[in-house]
């Protein structure tokens, strides 16, 4: 009997993971013992273990250590991974929802009014391609607070996909459905609420999903710059500590949280999806 496609895919994923981890483990150089060092190496300080990419087993040990006590706080440079991710999520979500609160109503306005669309288009086209980190110096100067600046950078990078998708979704609502609203004498607000919002919701949610992905990409870089707390700072701090095991562990955590965020938004998108 042939197992279902999902089961076979899962099996293949597991095999691939095992093979890759095996190669990685095998490729990691074993640390030489002190007794095997040549005299020259001892003279050159070679008694210190040579820095190398740690094997997966070491990463697992580290992950177990960190994840079994994720919320400890032992001073500014030694906080649990849970606390660091918590800070990052707080910044991402506050910047993101601030952006949504502006982008979605503005997108409605642009989508419903051809005049506003044309008037605002040049601004959007110029502002959109700017790397969010390029705003950082200006934000630091104007806001004078590194935490708020990081939130601002998230805000500015997540606003565009939401704004553009909302405008696109609203402008593209089928004329038939708008006519249904018109023939039933629905006012502008009711039309927006009963017809346009549900009709454009899948497109808007797509924009929101793109935005959250970008925001999570950008927060790591932003936190490397502003420092203090957060997963981005944690990566950079562990690099400064030359703790590559922690660096690899935190990279994996960044991927994991990003995936969870995306899955959550994909789920929301399914809720508003409709079939014509």
């Amino acid at each position: 009997m042939i197992a279902s496609l999902n089961a076979r895919a899962l099996l293949l994923s597991a095999v691939l993971l095992a093979v890759l981890l095996g190669i990685w483990e095998a490729a990691s150089p074993q640390q030489k013992l002190g007794s095997e060092l040549t005299e020259y190496e001892i003279l050159m300080g070679g008694a210190e273990p040579k820095a190398a990419v740690p094997p997966p087993s070491a990463v697992f040990v580290k992950a177990w250590e960190e994840l079994s006590n994720p919320f400890y706080d032992a001073g500014p440079n030694d906080k649990g991974i849970g606390i660091q991710i918590g800070y990052s999520l707080y910044r991402v979500l506050s910047g993101y929802f601030l952006a949504a609160a502006i982008a979605i109503p503005a997108g409605f306005l642009i989508g419903m009014s051809p005049l506003m669309y044309r008037a605002l288009d040049p601004f959007i086209q110029i502002l959109r391609p700017i790397s969010p980190l390029a705003w950082m110096p200006l934000a630091l100067f104007v806001i004078q607070d590194s935490q708020a600046s990081a939130i601002f950078v998230i805000f500015i990078c997540s606003i565009w996909p939401m704004l553009i998708n909302t405008a696109f979704g609203v402008a593209g609502v089928r004329k038939d459905w708008v006519n249904v609203a018109r023939t039933h004498e629905l006012g502008t607000l009711k039309t927006a609420w009963i017809v346009i919002l549900p009709a454009a919701a899948p497109t808007i949610l797509t924009g929101m999903r793109i935005s959250i992905g970008i925001a999570w990409l950008v927060i790591v870089a932003a936190e490397m710059l502003v420092g203090g707390t957060g997963i981005g700072y944690y990566v950079w701090n562990e690099w400064n500590n030359l703790d590559l095991t922690s660096v690899i562990f935190s990279i994996l955590m960044i991927g994991l949280v990003g995936m969870l965020l995306d899955t959550a938004f994909a789920y929301c998108a399914r809720l508003v999806q409709y079939q014509e």
């Binding site: 249904v180 023939t183 549900p198 409709y274």
Partner: protein, 309 residues
């Protein structure tokens, strides 16, 4: 002559042509009247502007010239007094069949309670046979016929003064079309609803209509004839084909569509007052139209026409 319930006066629609050239006139100087409770069908080839006329009646489109007067008031913009059923159903796909009706009823009766709205909507969905859970499905989970039934229920549920049907059965197979036609005629018979309907189907028009308007081909299309269908109601599909007038009417309509719609096309009216010629068939009763002088001598079942032919 008293103004009819709905009066279309000198309606024209022109689209600006490519720069420098003359504008494209789709139809011109369309005059017609519809009485309260009348069921009127309009037939014409594609492109003659019947959908544009319907959209103007609905208030969704604007005429270049002329006016539509309903109940003594000029039509401007869409209104709940004019319900529409489109060929593509125009249901909101994210709402269940029931919700598609309740939102319309709610819009019509803003002061009704939830229960009143619900009961009223369910009543109309029952009339078109959507019961037993089918009303809770989304349009995508319903067949084309079922969707059009929901659309018809929605239009009747708001009890508009004028019901506009834009080829409502155009996308349905013949069997489904037949059963929904029967339902439509049954619901209409139990109301005093005025209906204006576009169709391409000659048999459908004879089954449903009190009067059939015939449009010439565009450009410069116009309503050339108004054929009276005096077959008594209630009409049953299987029986009316044996009615002595049935094939006379049918042949007349087919002949118009096949030949005269083209012959009359593109001719502008010189006199400018183009009331459609009234045409009647019938064995029984007076066949003459008031303005027709020779009515007395007209033999039964002949075509009787008022005005110049």
């Amino acid at each position: 002559m008293p103004t009819p319930f709905l009066s279309v006066q000198g309606l024209s629609k022109r689209f600006p042509g490519p720069k420098g050239s003359d504008p494209l006139t789709v139809f011109e100087n369309v005059n017609l009247g519809i009485e309260k409770g009348e069921f009127v069908c309009i037939i014409g080839h594609s492109g003659c502007g019947k959908s544009t006329i319907l959209n103007i009646l609905a208030g969704l489109d604007e005429p270049t010239d002329g006016a539509v007067i309903m109940n003594g008031k000029e039509v401007s913009g869409p209104s709940l007094d004019r319900g529409i059923v489109f060929q593509n159903y125009s249901l909101l796909p994210w709402l269940s069949a029931l919700k598609n009706v309740t939102f319309a009823v709610q819009a019509r009766h803003r002061n009704w309670t939830k229960k009143q709205v619900h009961d009223h909507s369910v009543k109309y969905l029952e009339m078109v046979g959507l019961t037993g859970g089918a009303e809770l499905r989304k349009p995508s989970q319903l067949s084309g016929g079922m969707r059009q039934r929901v659309s018809i229920a929605r239009a009747f549920a708001i009890q508009p003064e004028l019901l506009l049907l834009d080829e409502p059965f155009g996308a349905l197979d013949a069997l489904t079309r037949g059963s929904i036609q029967d339902e439509l005629i049954r619901i209409w018979a139990g109301s005093d609803q005025t209906v204006f309907m576009i169709t391409h189907d000659v048999d459908e028009a004879i089954l449903l209509a009190d009067r059939i308007l015939l449009m010439t081909n565009g450009p410069y299309a116009r309503v050339a004839e108004s054929v009276q269908v005096d077959i008594e109601r209630p009409r049953v599909r299987a029986d009316i084909i044996h009615h002595p007038d049935y094939y006379d009417i049918r042949n007349h309509l087919v002949e118009f569509l096949a030949k005269r719609s083209r012959e009359l096309a593109g001719k502008r009216d010189e006199d400018g007052v183009s009331e459609p010629n009234v045409i009647r068939f019938g064995l029984n009763g007076p066949v003459a139209n008031k303005s027709n002088k020779g009515a007395g001598e007209t033999p039964a079942r002949a075509r009787v026409v008022n005005g110049a032919d």
